[in-house]
Amino acid sequence: MDRSPAANPPYRLPPPLFNARCRACWFSAALALLVVASFWSLNLQWAQFLSLDAARSMGRFGAEFFPPDTSPEFLRKVAVGTWETLAMSALGTVLAAAGGLLLALPASRLHADDSAPGRGATRLLLNALRAIPELVWAGLLLIAAGLGPFSGTLALALHTTGVLGRLFAEALENAPPGPAAALRAQGVRKTAVFLYATLPQVLPQLLSYTLYRWENNIRAAAVLGVVGAGGLGQLLSFHMGLFHMGKTATVLGAMLLLVAAVDALSYGARRWMTR
């Protein structure tokens, strides 16, 4: 006797929600645990934030920003601060590009026979430079270089050296090896091989990395002054500390304008270059 086939396709249970072999499940569980543990361990004071009191003091704080101080002498001071911020970011980036290129050479294996003895050590140094944020560098440098834009510039340069050095090293290692090999086979010296074969190939890439970092550094330089390292941030923390709210509002406005201008410029430039 034959069994008639089921009218419906074989009934199957949906896959279980949690399966011990499913890596994504373990990962999601760990993530949920991390989030819950974070909120639980921080004992955030939402009550204080969402209370009527906080709303009122927030409102008062916001109202004090108006009217912003627009007296000519203060505007001149803000303009000087803005120029200082721009100069810090530009000089810091130039120094970092030079330092990054210098460190990228020992950090990269330029051809297959290159033993690159300092590669590991230099990469470790670059990682350490990169891991420490600009603001921490600025805090450390204040001790050696004193208050002012000089320590801010050095701090930007140090952090960006780490970032650019690593990117440059990757670019150098990924450059097509043909031209350099041809020159080396002719017995050309190392510096000349680098200057005439490797560098011209990667130069556009290095420049675009550097410009990208400059854009980041303008934003960073605007707030670096909060620890006393010059630029708009120093004006901001100074006037906020003294509760000069009108002046603080002007500085904040200048900061936002600067960031927006940089964003618009880089967006326009990218559109123009990829057109």
Binding site: F61, V94, F150, G187, V227
Partner: protein, 284 residues
């Protein structure tokens, strides 16, 4: 018949010893120094003050206290606690940033517009989307440090200010980039769903999200890594965590403690880097 005198044999060609373009290189180096001069004036760029005897003495004293690094059990326990707080501030901030970014992304993405299916988007939805984009830009362009300064002033020191600062700035960033990712992909499947009468949310969950899930996740993980770095920085203005302890130790010239915390911090960042690289790789 006489043969013409033969030309003398040329000397074998060898690579020149000097760099043939050295003059141009020196010129451009000099020119860029001249161009950089006003910047150096503006930033008070005087490297020699680093080696002035008075400064050198202070720096030397500070550096000398770096060794041995502080390693008493109480101190190490404190460092472990504060490192966890740093990670927790970053994670909580990212969670709230997602809560801000997801609805705003859904509101602002053009791929989910019903009226745009037939020609131009209607005026109302168009301006709504522009307004949401404007809000995202404002959130994003205030640096998190400035948000933190404001919150610390209003409600006092503590991790709440740090969490909120990260949430607001990163919410803006995530919202903008999510929108770009969703619009840059192929919207054909989504539009087909919408044309056949599915709701916007259905079109999102069954069309847009599966297509872009890997890219969205990998960007989120990358931002989490950045949030850890900025939560240390926020500690410097009083939002708690490793940054605040580092600031205190620096101000008291306790070099050994600074050294230990810097080392822990570098290790923490390297670990986050490794985790995020591994995750992004497995997402493909």
């Amino acid at each position: 018949m006489e043969l013409a005198p033969r030309a003398p044999l040329k000397a074998p060609v060898t690579a020149p010893d000097r760099d043939p373009a050295w003059l141009a290189r020196v010129f451009w180096l000099g020119a860029s120094l001249v161009l950089l001069w006003p910047l150096m004036v503006a930033t008070e760029f005087r490297p020699w003050i680093l080696v002035e005897p008075a400064n050198l003495k202070v720096t030397g004293q500070f550096l000398a206290t770096f060794l041995p690094p502080a390693h008493s059990p109480e101190f190490l326990a404190m460092v472990a606690r504060e490192s966890w707080r740093t990670v927790a501030i970053a994670t909580a901030g990212m969670t709230l940033a997602l809560v801000i970014a997801l609805p705003l992304t859904l509101l602002s993405t053009r791929a989910l517009s019903v009226s745009a299916l037939s020609g131009r988007m209607a005026r109302g939805p168009f301006w709504l989307r522009q307004a949401v984009r404007g809000l995202l830009i404002v959130l994003r362009s205030v640096p998190e440090l400035v948000w933190a300064l404001v919150f610390v002033r209003v409600v006092g020191l503590g991790p709440t200010s740090g969490v909120l600062a990260i949430a607001l700035t990163y919410g803006g960033m995530l919202g903008k980039v999510y929108g770009e990712i969703l619009e840059s992909g192929d919207v054909h499947a989504t539009q087909t769903l919408l044309r056949n009468g599915s709701s916007r949310l259905q079109a999102f969950f069954f069309g847009l999200l599966p297509q872009n899930a890997a890219e969205l996740t990998s960007y989120t993980v990358y931002r989490w890594e950045c949030a850890i770095r900025s939560s240390v920085v926020l500690g410097f203005v009083g939002a708690g965590g490793l940054g605040q302890e580092m600031d205190n130790s620096m101000k008291m010239f306790h070099g050994g403690e600074v050294f230990t915390m810097l080392a822990v911090f570098v290790a923490l960042v390297a670990l986050a880097d490794r985790v995020s690289a591994g995750l992004r790789k497995s997402l493909g």
